[in-house]
Every structure is written in C-alpha cells, then in structure tokens.
Symmetry: C2
C-alpha cells in the first residue's frame, strides 16, 4: 500500500488552481437580497453589536459609531465606507511559492476540516488531538493538491496553551509549503506567529504586510456579540495585512433565527459590523465574508449538517456576499459520529451547496465528523475523492468537431465497442477521473480480494501516505531558521491566551 500511497503523492499539482465550473444559483430574488442588506444596516444602527473589547469600541466610536456600555451602534455610512475599502482580490502567499493561491471572484479553494478537539481513525480510535496526530493531518493536507490551504485539523492538546501556537506554526512551516492558518488567541500569540512567518520565509516587515501569508477565522459569538479575542484578532490581523475570514456560525433555531432569511440577516449584520471594525483598523486589509450556517434539530437542539437549510443558507450567503462585493467562505460538514453512509452523504450535500453558491473558499471540506468535534482520517480520504471529482469537473471541455467523434462512430460497427478506436486511443489516458479510493471491481473480484469496504481502504491509503511522508528540504531549512526564536520565546514563558 505504501507504493500506492507514493503514487498518490505523485499526482499532486494535477488539479488547481480551481475556478468555479457552474454559475451561482439564486435562493432569493435580487430585490429581497437587497432588502436583507438594508435590514442588516438597520440592525447595526438601531440594535447594535455588543463588543467586549474596549480598543475595538474606541476605534468604532472615534469613527462615528455610538457607544453605550458595551454596545456599539454603527451607521450605514461607516459600513458603506468599509465595503468600499475592502479588497475583492488578493493572493494567499505560501512558504513554497508554487502553492500561492490567487483569490478572486471565480476562485474555488478547498481546505480540510479544522478546529476539532478530537481525532479518530480506524487504527487508534477516537481520542483527544495531540501533536503527532496534528502533524499527520498536516502531512495528509500537503499530499493532496485539492487542498489549497492548511487547516487546524485537530487541536494538539498535549502541548501547553502558552506554547501550542509555536508548535502549530512550526509544524506547518516545516512539514508543508501551502498557505497557513493561525488562531487569533490574543495579541501576544498573534505577534509570535507573525514573527515566525516572517523569520521562516525571510521576509521584511514590508514584504510580510503586503500580502496575506496567514489566514485566521473570526467567529462572532452569534447573536450580535464579538468577544475579546475575536475583536483583538480583527484588529491585529488587519494591521498586519493578514487575512481575516469573518464567520458568524449561525445555527438556525439556536444562535440564529429559525428562518433562512432571518439567519442570513443575522449573519449579514455581524459580518458587516465586524468588517467595519476590521477596515477601520487598516483600510484595504484582506478580508472574506464568512458564512457557515446550518440548523439545529428542533427536538433535541443538536446541530445538523448537510441539510436543506445549510444548502439554502449557503446559496443565500453567496448572493449576499456578491451583493456586498466580497470574496466569501463557506463550509461543508456532517453530524455523523462515525465513518458511515451518513457522514459521506451529508458532506456531499453540503459540498454541492458550496458549489451552487460559488463559494470562493470551502472550509471543513475534508475530514469533519461530529459537527466538527472530531477530525476523521478515513473521512478525510473519502472527502478528498469528492474534492478531486469536483476539481475534475472544473476542467473546461473543448467544443470542437473532433471531440464529437463522427469518425469514431464511423469506425465502430453497430453493437461494437470503442475500446480500441483511434479516437479512444488518442485520449484514454487522461479522459476520465482516476479515483484514489473508490473500488470499481466486480462484486466477485472484490469479494475474493477480502470484501474490503471504502472505510478500510481509506485506512490503508492514509497510513501509506503518512508512513511514506518525506519532510521537504525547504521545510527543514525553515524549521532550523525558526529554532532560536522558539527556544527563546519558550524560555521566556511563551505567550498567554487572550483573556
């Protein structure tokens, strides 16, 4: 299997950069989308946002917002100015320049599941995330070219919180060469991370600040609350020119209204409010409209994913983000607790929603289980198959007479076959998507070979990749460059989390 895995590593760079193959769908009329936008401006003005960070409130109030206790009321002129300064294209820079990723209106970017406290696989079972597992997740993310940006997969909980950001940042720079993520967990940690990225990539301050080398996700605390670390993250990443993906996590029926339009209204309000703070902190800083909404089960309150509501929220979010002129980020997902048909089905449903909405960035696109509480290794492989299929779909088809193959029809007699036709022989090697985990053999052959289901084949595949993984020489160099900084900062006690 290691041999097969090595083959898979070699298919890297087959797909990508990806562009959306299909036109975006519409959930609502353009008129109603405009009404939601206007209503969001009214909410910001009249109901306001609660912001727990004093510096953030001051930035907003000094620019015209009304501050009362911890509430901030933001005028529509401020929002409109923020939308004017927010960029609608930028390039995610990577340690290895081949992985730089241009973000514009047509871009389709995939990132693996992130933020899970746990991990699971069919060898070790389910457990709390640790450093080894976190690094194995990075190896998998680096090995498939349909993963365009790194994600925080599972949390390495065996590392102390004041030192964890060193390990998570160092591992990305050592093992991988793709655009990075960082958590916004307080100013001290953010500054450490920015320093590490600069040092490892040999960047001046000006070079670093000129492009987004690191992406963070800002989750507002729906409804209408921005907590201290999130507000600080907006300010710090904006000032450093690094990418903020402002993502209210709107679970309809729980933290968001029960209707699709209501959940979108809340989401839009929070994105626009946070965006205004972000652009005031540094006008023109890279930012994305984040949308990750689904619904809860109204009997139990449990979050559900891959649901019709998630698909509708995704398509509606795309309309609102485009209305606001912003690049946007969506997500796949599943509530399933294990590697089963539910997990695969829900994730595919959600993925297609992101295609229908023309999401520019699709996070949690591979490996999510349990509504994000666990990163699943076999699930990752299953989802990579889906992402590779979608990548294949993005390839344009040529519209020539030769492609139609009248000559092939002429060559093959009625009832014959095209296996050996000239038209086939000229094209067969690259004609079709080559699956990595799907088993296409007949039942008898498959049964005779042990009747191995997709879940177990996925185990062999990720194991082979992890075992064969070679840390790139450039990554070893970056790690060596970083070592003095980490040693020094560790000796100084690391960096505390934000209060």
């Amino acid at each position: 299997m290691a041999r097969r895995a090595k083959q898979n590593i070699r298919v890297e760079t087959t797909y990508g950069p990806l562009r959306h193959p299909y036109a975006p769908q519409a959930l609502f009329s353009e008129d109603y989308i405009n009404q939601i936008h206007s209503e969001a401006l009214r909410v910001l003005e009249t109901l306001g946002l609660k912001i727990l960070n004093a510096e953030a409130r001051t930035i907003l109030s000094q620019n015209g917002a009304i501050e009362r206790d911890e509430m901030v009321y933001i005028g529509r002129d401020m929002v409109e100015e923020a939308l004017r300064t927010a960029p609608n294209h930028f390039t995610l820079k990577a340690a290895d320049p081949v992985h730089d990723y241009v973000m514009n209106r047509d871009t389709l970017l995939f990132a693996a599941g992130g933020g899970s406290p746990n991990a699971t696989d069919r060898v070790k079972g389910r457990r709390a995330g640790d450093r080894e597992t976190f690094e194995n997740c990075l190896k998998l993310q680096q090995s498939f070219d349909v993963i365009h940006k790194l994600s925080p997969s599972c949390e390495p909980q065996d590392i102390a919180p004041n030192l964890r950001h060193y390990a998570m940042t160092e591992a990305q720079l050592r093992l991988c060469g793709k655009p990075m993520f960082a958590y916004a967990r307080g100013r001290a940690q953010s500054m450490d991370i920015f320093d590490m990225v600069r040092i490892a990539n040999g960047l001046t301050d000006e070079e670093f600040i000129a492009d987004p080398w690191v992406t963070t996700v800002i989750n507002t605390n729906s409804p209408r609350l921005i907590d201290h670390p999130m507000a600080e993250g907006l300010i710090d990443f904006a000032r450093a020119g690094q990418l903020c993906v402002i993502t209210p996590f709107c679970l309809s029926g729980a933290m968001a209204p029960v209707t699709v339009a209501g959940a979108l209204l809340l989401q839009h309000t929070e994105v626009l409010g946070a965006l205004t703070l972000h652009q005031l902190a540094n006008p023109g800083a890279p930012v994305q409209y984040g949308a990750f909404g689904s619904n809860v089960d109204m009997k139990s309150g449990a979050p559900a994913f891959g649901t019709p509501t998630q698909i509708q929220l995704t398509i509606g979010s795309g309309q609102l983000a485009r209305h606001a002129g912003l690049l946007w980020r969506s997500a796949a997902g599943t509530a399933s607790n294990t590697h089963d048909m539910q997990a695969s089905g829900e994730t595919h449903m959600a993925l297609w929603g992101t295609l229908m909405g023309n999401a520019n960035s699709v996070y949690h696109a591979a490996g999510w289980l349990e509504g994000g509480l666990t990163f699943g290794f076999e699930k990752f492989i299953n989802d990579i198959e889906a992402l590779r299929s979608i990548a294949h779909l993005t390839r344009p088809l040529s519209e020539t007479t030769q492609e139609m193959g009248f000559a092939a029809l002429e060559e093959v007699a009625p009832g014959g076959h095209f296996f050996a036709a000239k038209h086939t022989m000229e094209r067969y090697e690259t004609a079709f998507y080559a699956p990595i985990n799907a088993d296409l053999r007949s039942f008898g052959t498959w049964e005779g070979a042990g009747a191995v289901p997709a879940e177990d084949r996925a185990t062999r595949l990720w194991q082979g990749i992890v075992e064969a993984y070679q840390t790139p020489a450039s990554g070893l160099e970056r790690a060596a460059t970083l070592e003095p900084f980490i040693t020094k900062r560790t000796a100084e006690g690391g960096a505390a989390l934000s209060a």
Copy 2:
C-alpha cells in the same frame, strides 16, 4: 423500531409533486449543442442504425428511410416530424389517483433502482432476486412519498420467465398505488400487461390508451443497434399510448466514444432514431428522452458511476433534451459493492448532476449498488434521506419582512439564543428537514446507545417498514379482479419472451 417505521410511513405525502428548485446548468454553449444535434442528424442519415426487427424497418422505410440489409438510414425531415409530434407534457396515471404525476418541463420525479438481478441487505446478505424480495422492495417504494414511480428493483428469478410478468404486474397493482413500470420483453408479454392494467383499474380501451399508465425503458444497444425486443417495445407501447423512455446506456470509452461530446453525440443519435420509429408507430404517443451515461475505468474496463464524466454527460443531456423539446430522464448510480462511504458519495454526486441538468425523471435514485447489479436495502434508505433532503429544497421560501425576523433579533439579547423566541415558536415545527436515518446525537450519547452506524440503523428502518406494511384495501380489490385473468393465462402457458 416498528413504531418508528410506522411513523415514517405516516410522513407520506409530505413532499411532492416536486418541481426543480434550481436553474439548469450549461456544459456546452448553445451553439455547440446545436452542432451536436446537427451532427446526430448526419449520423442517422449517413451511418444509420442497425435494427434487428423487420416490422420496425418497414415502418421506417415506408415513411422515407432507406433500408439496406438490417441497416436503416433516416432522413432529418423524418426526425424533425417526430420531434414535432412528440408531446412535451403528459400525466403518469396511477392506480391510486392521488399518485398521478404531472410531467412537464419543471417536473422532478424520483424512482428507485431498477433492473438488478440481485438484492442485498444486512440480514440475509447478497442473493439472486426472488418474489419475496421484489415485493418487499415494492413496499419500501410505496412507503416513501419521494418515490413517485415504481421501479423493477430486483428481478424475481424464482418465477419462470413466461409467468414472471404476471407476478411483477400483479404485485405492483396489489401492494402499491403509484405509476407502474413494465419490461418490454416481447409483444405477448406487453399485451398481457396492458390487459392487466386495464382490468385492474376498470378502464375501457379508450381510457387506457389516452394516458400513460405504464412506463417502459427502451435501452438501445449502443452503438447504433436496436434489437428485436426493444424495437417491438417501441412499437407496442407507442400504439398502446404507454410511455417509452428511450435510453441509450452510453458508457464512455466502451459502448460510446471516450469524449463527453462524442458520447452525447451517440446518445442523441440513438434517441432521435428510436424516437422517429416510436412516433411513426403512433404520432403523439408519450415519450421521454433517456440519458444514462457514465464512463468506464480505462485500466480495467469496469463501469464507474458518480464520476465527473457522469455529471457532465447529465448536464449536457439536459441541454440536448431541452434543445429537442423533450422531457427527459436521467439516473444516479454507484459502482460500490457494499453499503459504504463510496456508495453514498457516488450516489450523491450523481444525484446532484441530475439536479444541475434539471432531469425530469431521475431513475435508480435509491438503492442501486454494483453499477445496478444489486438492489441494496440499506442503500435504499440512505438514498431516500438524500431524496427527501432534495424534496425539502424544492419548497419555495417566502420573501417577506416577517421572515427576516428583525423582531426576533430585537427580542434576543447579544450572546443569547433563539430557542424560545416568538419567531421561533411560531415556526419551529415545520422549519427544518426531519431526517429519517441520520443520527444527530452527540458522540457520547450515540456511543452509549450502542454506537450504531447509519448502515445498521437503515436495517432497522426498512425492516420496520416491511413488517408493518399493510396492503391497501384497493390493492386487494385489484388483485381479486385480476385473479381470473392470471389463472387463465397461466393455464394457457403464459407468454414467451421475445426472441
């Protein structure tokens, strides 16, 4: 579990009739679609079709086609006349009128997997289809309102071929009330089936012929061959006013050219040629453009499903069918040999292709495994979840200020929740899709309850439905009405298959 199953049977009639929620996507430019259409007319004229049935050749040659040996060359004027007479709307009639299904441009119809020699479930395992299994499949199809038309699921091979059509037709009329299928396996069997439908539903000849009560699928023998039973089926079903779904099974790289455009050209040629025969046999008889294409794996020749090529062929087929002004039929599918993540993923991929192509009828939408060689019971349940989700997506959303819920945002404090908000309480009961098999519980709760994966939950669900199934009184009446006919025809030796 029987209790849960009974609850599920009770959700019948929640969804449907369905209309497509999203605009059709385009694979090719309209100009290129027009070129493929023209090229298909050229193939029919110059390369022709091989038709093994003399009556069919005569019908075509008497109307202007050139006949040479078993080849028939069909002029474009004949095709254009057939496209003029073919209807673009009709109603599938059902034994129980509540299940009548109006077919027009926006219609979305789902039918379960059909035509499998085998069946499998996690209780009895994989085996050849038999009468009991066939009837259990019918009970499942009748129990979910997202299944709009009956399908031949698995073949009851324990019944002799000369009597099998009596059992398959009688079981549909006894156990179910939805629009029916029939195999075109020779004139004698078709006439028996038409008699049974007339007798069971108390129809005059005129009433029967006026609407399609029975649907058959005509699979051309790609490339460019129509065999004896298929040609006879086209003629017999057309004359009886029953629906023919003309479906070349174009596996790109094997029975069809290796390119998407080439496979579409062959498919379009065969549909138009068979349609011309069909409309000459009875102008205006109900017909659908059938499209079921995918690709083979070029290393092994094995058919693959849920692939990018299948999605592209589906979207392109929709363009060609609409270009021809015909309602059309597509299909989902999977090559997986068991109830695993591959099976669920491939089927979801293919289903979304049918949505993107705005297929009017989606066959094999639930229960297919092994590229159609097996009907899987747990797979059926898994796929029904997908179809119900899609059905929920088809529900229009209202565009009102109330739906946006400014008042709800006003009511809920920052950081609060919407569980008890007035806006929620007024809507929560019907707001979200209610899953039938997805388990949304937390990992701990799910594990504590036995860690049952989706596959095993599906087993309990279908078992409960089958055990609780009550044959409708109207079905028992229809069966009693049919009994003398079946007894008589059985005594006469039944009906032989077509040569």
